[in-house]
C-alpha cells in the first residue's frame, strides 16, 4: 500500500500564537507587522476568485489602500458559486438567549469536524463570526427579520441553538452581492483592477516567493503574466472532480492544483462532503445535480421498497408493509434526521442492493404523505413550498401527490491547500482563503459554516495576516522577461498547444464523466483499500488515454469553452489520484467518510485518534512516476476532547 507515497518530515503551523485560546487571535493581530497607509498603494495583491472569500478579501484590501488585481472565470464577479448557497450563515451572537457563545460555536465546529480541524483556527472563526453579521448588515444584506425589526435566527443542521442568520433560501446570494457591491465600489474608485473571463493557469514563483500568475483571457485567448507582491487564491473547492456535483459547471481545481505542482502542500484531499438530499440523475444527459435543503428531512420520511422487484412499480402501488423506512429502522432515535454522512451512505447502500427507485435505480423516496395527513397540505406548503416547486420544475413530478426522489451528491470539499494560522501556504506570499484552503472544517463541515468561513477569511483574517507579509515589501519588481516568468508562461502555452494538437476521438466531457464515475464509486462515501487501489489504476490509465485521445476543437486564440474544460479535467485527473491515495492512507472512518475496514461491530464509523489525529499535507511528486510525499501536522486538542458520535 505504501507503494503509492513516501513519508516525509512532519510539518507544523508555526504562525499560531500560544496561550489561552481566546487570546490567540488578539495576540496575532497585535504581533502582525503593519504597513504604513502611504505605502499600501505601492503594493499589489492578486486575488483569484470572487466568491465570498475572494470578493470580501479584494474589497477589504482595496479599502485598506492596496492595489488589487482580481480575476474570475465568470463574466462578472457576482456569479461566483457562493451565490448558490441556500441555508444560512452561523454566528455566535446569542440573540436568542439560548446559551450560545463563541466557545459553543467553536466547540460544535471542532466536534462536527470529527476532531480533524485545528482548534486555534476554529476558535478564531467563531470569534469573527459576530463581526461578519455586523459587516453584512451594514452593507444592506436583507437578512430575514422578526416583526420587531430585529434579525431572525434559526437552528440549522441539527444544532441545539438558533445561531443561523438567513435570507430566505438565498443567503449565499445576498451575502455575495454584499461583497460584490463592496468590490464594485472599489472598482469604480480604481482601487481594484477587475479581470472577468480570465482564468489563472499557472503560479509564478521567483526566489521562493509567489510573485504572480499566468492568466488566459478567455475571450481573446491572450496569455499574459501578471505580477504582484502577494497572491491570494480564493478559487473554491474541487467537488467537480466527481463530474456530477452541486458545484457550478465551471468550478475547478486548476488554480489550487497549479500552486500545488509548484510546491504548495495539499491537505486532506479526500475530505469531501456529500449531501443527502439532492435531486437524482434523470439520465445520461445529466450535467449537474441540484441540492434541496435538508430541512426537508424534518417532515419527510425516507424509504425504499423492501423487495428489489417492487422498484419499478409506482410508489402508490407499494403497500405500507412492503416499504422499508430504513433510517427509522436502523437509527430509531434519530430516524430521518441522522447526520448528512449517515443519511447519504445509507441511501447509497440500499441502492447498491438494487432497491433504489427512479431512473437507473439511483434514488430513494422522501415521502411527505404522513406530514400532509398530519399537518395538512397548507402547512406543508407554507414550510416547503419553494422546495417542492423547485423539485417539480426539475423532475416534472408533483411531490404533494407522489413521493420525492432524492440521492446524495458531492457538495463541498473540506480539503484544500495547506495553510498556517496566517492562511499562508507553504509557498511564501501565497495565501489561500475560503473553500480553497483546508483549515477550519476538519473532516466534515457543519451546515451554515461555509459562508461564515469564506467571509471570515476575506473580511477579517486575511487583511491582517497578509499585511504582516506585505510589511516586508514592496518586493523587488519583476519584469515579464525574468526567466521564471518566461518559463511559467511557456508552460501554459505548451500545455494549451498540446491539448489542441491531440485531436483524438473522445470529447473532454466523456473523460470527465468517466473520471467522476470512478471517484464516486471508489472515493465517495464508502472506501475500501481494494477499491481505492483499483481506482488509482483506473485513473492512471484514463489519464493516459486522455492525453492520447481527447479531442479539443477550435484554436487557443478565441473563446473556446472546450479548451477551458480540457485544462481543468487534466488537473482533475491528477487531483483524483491524490484523493484516492489520501483516502487509502487514512485507514479510519472519519467525518463524512466511511472506511469499510474501520467500523464498530454494529457497522458504525470508527475513528482512530491514536494513529490519524493529523492533517495529511501532501507534497507534489515531480516526474511522471514519482510518488507524492506525506507530511503530517499533528493535531492537539487542548479544549475539546475527542469523543465518539452515536446516533442509534
Amino acid at each position: 500500500m505504501a507503494d503509492f507515497w513516501n513519508d516525509g518530515d512532519p510539518i507544523a503551523d508555526t504562525a499560531a500564537p500560544e496561550g489561552p485560546i481566546e487570546n490567540r487571535w488578539e495576540k496575532r493581530k497585535f504581533s502582525a507587522k503593519l504597513v504604513n497607509p502611504a505605502n499600501r498603494r505601492k503594493l499589489t495583491v492578486i486575488v483569484v476568485g470572487t466568491g465570498l472569500a475572494g470578493g470580501s478579501a479584494a474589497a477589504t484590501l482595496a479599502e485598506a489602500g492596496y492595489h488589487v488585481k482580481s480575476y474570475c472565470y465568470q463574466d462578472s464577479p457576482r456569479r461566483a458559486h457562493s451565490i448558490a448557497a441556500q441555508g444560512g450563515i452561523n454566528a455566535a451572537k446569542n440573540y436568542r438567549n439560548d446559551g450560545d457563545s463563541i466557545y459553543r460555536l467553536f466547540y460544535d465546529t471542532v466536534k462536527g469536524g470529527d476532531f480533524r480541524a485545528r482548534e486555534s483556527n476554529v476558535y478564531r472563526l467563531a470569534t469573527v463570526s459576530v463581526n461578519i453579521i455586523d459587516q453584512c448588515v451594514a452593507q444592506g444584506v436583507p437578512f430575514a427579520r422578526e416583526y420587531g425589526g430585529l434579525l431572525d435566527n434559526r437552528s440549522f443542521g441539527g444544532t441545539q441553538v438558533s445561531r443561523t442568520f438567513y435570507a430566505r433560501g438565498q443567503t449565499g446570494q445576498q451575502l455575495l452581492l454584499g461583497a460584490y457591491q463592496a468590490m464594485e465600489r472599489q472598482i469604480g474608485l480604481g482601487n481594484i483592477e477587475m479581470n472577468s473571463r480570465h482564468e489563472m493557469l499557472e503560479l509564478i514563483i521567483v526566489e521562493g516567493k509567489a510573485r504572480g500568475i499566468v492568466v488566459r483571457d478567455m475571450v481573446t485567448g491572450e496569455i499574459t503574466t501578471e505580477m504582484a507582491d502577494a497572491v491570494v487564491l480564493a478559487s473554491g473547492g474541487y467537488g467537480n472532480v466527481f463530474f456530477l456535483s452541486t458545484n457550478a459547471k465551471g468550478c475547478n481545481v486548476t488554480a489550487s492544483w497549479r500552486a500545488h505542482r509548484k510546491g504548495a502542500l495539499f491537505a486532506n484531499p479526500c475530505y469531501t462532503q456529500i449531501h443527502p438530499t439532492c435531486i437524482p440523475e434523470s439520465g445520461t444527459h445529466q450535467s449537474k445535480l441540484t441540492l434541496m435543503s435538508e430541512s426537508l428531512r424534518n417532515d419527510g420520511r425516507v424509504w425504499v421498497p423492501k423487495s428489489a422487484s417492487d422498484c419499478q412499480k409506482p410508489a402508490s402501488d407499494i403497500p405500507e408493509e412492503d416499504r422499508d423506512y430504513y433510517l427509522e429502522r436502523i437509527y430509531p432515535s434519530f430516524g430521518n434526521l441522522v447526520p448528512r454522512d449517515i443519511a447519504s451512505r445509507a441511501a447509497k447502500n440500499v441502492c447498491d442492493e438494487g432497491r433504489g427507485v427512479g431512473p437507473g435505480g439511483l434514488g430513494v423516496y422522501l415521502d411527505f404523505a404522513d406530514a400532509i395527513k398530519r399537518l395538512g397540505k397548507k402547512a406543508v406548503e407554507a414550510k416547503y413550498g419553494n422546495l417542492f416547486e423547485m423539485y417539480q420544475r426539475i423532475t416534472g413530478e408533483d411531490p404533494y401527490s407522489v413521493p420525492m426522489r432524492i440521492y446524495p451528491a458531492v457538495h463541498y470539499t473540506m480539503g484544500g491547500l495547506w495553510v498556517d494560522y496566517d492562511l499562508q501556504s507553504t509557498i511564501p506570499g501565497l495565501f489561500v482563503v475560503g473553500e480553497a484552503n483546508f483549515s477550519d472544517h476538519g473532516a466534515n463541515r457543519l451546515g451554515a459554516s461555509a459562508l461564515m468561513q469564506g467571509l471570515g477569511d476575506g473580511y477579517f483574517v486575511l487583511p491582517t495576516t497578509l499585511g504582516n507579509y506585505l510589511a516586508s515589501g514592496p518586493y523587488e519588481k519583476i519584469g515579464a522577461d525574468h526567466e521564471e516568468v518566461v518559463a511559467a508562461r511557456k508552460q501554459v502555452e505548451d500545455r494549451i498547444a498540446k491539448l489542441l494538437s491531440i485531436n483524438g476521438d473522445r470529447t473532454v466531457d466523456s473523460f470527465h464523466r468517466e473520471l467522476g464515475h470512478i471517484m464516486w464509486e471508489y472515493c465517495g462515501m464508502e472506501r475500501t483499500e481494494e477499491g481505492l487501489t483499483k481506482a488509482i489504476g483506473l485513473i492512471r490509465s484514463l489519464k493516459e488515454e486522455f492525453w492520447q485521445r481527447v479531442k479539443v476543437p477550435g484554436t487557443g486564440e478565441q473563446l473556446n469553452q472546450n479548451l477551458e474544460k480540457a485544462g481543468r479535467v487534466a488537473d482533475f485527473f491528477e487531483l483524483g489520484e491524490l484523493m484516492c491515495i489520501d483516502a487509502l492512507h487514512r485507514r479510519e472512518s472519519c467525518g463524512g467518510h466511511f472506511r469499510a475496514e474501520s467500523q464498530t461491530p454494529d457497522g458504525e464509523a470508527l475513528r482512530h485518534d491514536d494513529e490519524f489525529s493529523y492533517v495529511a499535507a501532501w507534497e507534489y511528486a515531480t516526474g511522471e512516476s514519482a510518488k507524492p510525499t506525506l507530511h503530517k501536522e499533528q493535531l492537539e486538542f487542548e479544549y475539546v476532547h475527542p469523543s465518539t458520535r452515536s446516533y442509534k
Partner: protein, 248 residues
C-alpha cells in the same frame, strides 16, 4: 423526442452571424434546455464542427450566467424560469426551436450565444452599494428594520443580473435591473445617506453605457426569471425626481 434547433452562430464580434439548423435526436424530456445543447455539442465536436458557445454556470437558476432568447422570449417560454431551469418536457416532438443571444446595444456578442454584460457591473460600480468599509460596522441590532421593508428589500435584491430585462426591452433599457438595486438599498435604513447620489449616479452610468431609456413597455418584468415587479421602476422614478429636486 426529436427536435430541430435553429441557433445563432457568430464566430466573433466582427462576424455578421447567421442562424444555423441542427437536428437533435432522441433527447430526454427530463433533460434541461442547456443539457440538450450539451448533447448537441458533443455530437458537433465528434463531427469536427464548432460547438455552440453559451454562458452557463450554476445551472440552478441563481448565478444569472445563462442568457439566451428561446423562440423569441428571453429565457424561453416558462414564466419565472431561467434557461438552465427550462426542461425539454415543455417542448414536443418535432418542434423547431429558435435560439438567439441577448440582443441589445449595450451587450455586444462575443461568440454565438455569449454576450458581454460588463455594462451591468458598471451600473453597480457607479452607486449600487452602501459604503461600509470592513471593520466600521456598528452592532447588527443597533438599527432595527421593519419586517415589511426588509422583505420588500429582499424581493428586489433577488435580481440575478442576467440581463433578460435588457434583452426583452424594445429600447434595450436596463431600468428594471437598476430599479431593483435602487429599491433594495433605498428600503434599508443603512441605504439612506447615499439614496440620492445612488439613483443619480446609477442612471447616469446606465445612459453612459449605451442602454436605452425606459418607456414603460413592461416586457422586462414579464421575462424576469425572479419576477422583479415593474412597480420598482415607478419607485426609482420617484427617487430620481426627489434627488433631482434636491439638486436644484
Amino acid at each position: 423526442m426529436d427536435i430541430q434547433v435553429r441557433v445563432w452562430r457568430q464566430q466573433d464580434s466582427s462576424d455578421k452571424g447567421r442562424m444555423e439548423s441542427y437536428d437533435v435526436k432522441d433527447i430526454s424530456p427530463d433533460a434541461s434546455f442547456l443539457e440538450m445543447l450539451d448533447v448537441l455539442n458533443e455530437k458537433l465536436i465528434l463531427d469536427g464542427d464548432d460547438p455552440i458557445a453559451f454562458d452557463h454556470d450554476c445551472r440552478e437558476g441563481i448565478c444569472g450566467a445563462c442568457s439566451m432568447v428561446i423562440d423569441g422570449v428571453a429565457h424561453g417560454p416558462e414564466k419565472a424560469t431561467t434557461a438552465c431551469q427550462l426542461h425539454m418536457r415543455h417542448f414536443k416532438d418535432g418542434d423547431k426551436i429558435d435560439v438567439e443571444p441577448w440582443r441589445a446595444a449595450a451587450f455586444p456578442v462575443i461568440k454565438d450565444l455569449v454576450v458581454n454584460r460588463g455594462n451591468l457591473d458598471k451600473i453597480i460600480a457607479a452607486g449600487g452599494y452602501i459604503t461600509a468599509p470592513t471593520g466600521a460596522a456598528p452592532e447588527a441590532h443597533a438599527t432595527p428594520v421593519p419586517k415589511k421593508d426588509a422583505d420588500l428589500a429582499f424581493e428586489a435584491a433577488t435580481c440575478i443580473g442576467c440581463g433578460a430585462c435588457v434583452a426583452a426591452c424594445p429600447n434595450g433599457s436596463a431600468m428594471l435591473f437598476t430599479a431593483a438595486k435602487v429599491a433594495h438599498l433605498g428600503l434599508m435604513p443603512q441605504g439612506q445617506p447615499e439614496r440620492d447620489t445612488r439613483v443619480l449616479d446609477m442612471l447616469q452610468a446606465q445612459d453612459d453605457a449605451g442602454f436605452g431609456g425606459c418607456t414603460n413597455m413592461g416586457e422586462c418584468s414579464q421575462v424576469c426569471p425572479k419576477g422583479i415587479p415593474l412597480t420598482l421602476i415607478g419607485r426609482l422614478n420617484s427617487d430620481y425626481r426627489k434627488a433631482l429636486r434636491k439638486q436644484l
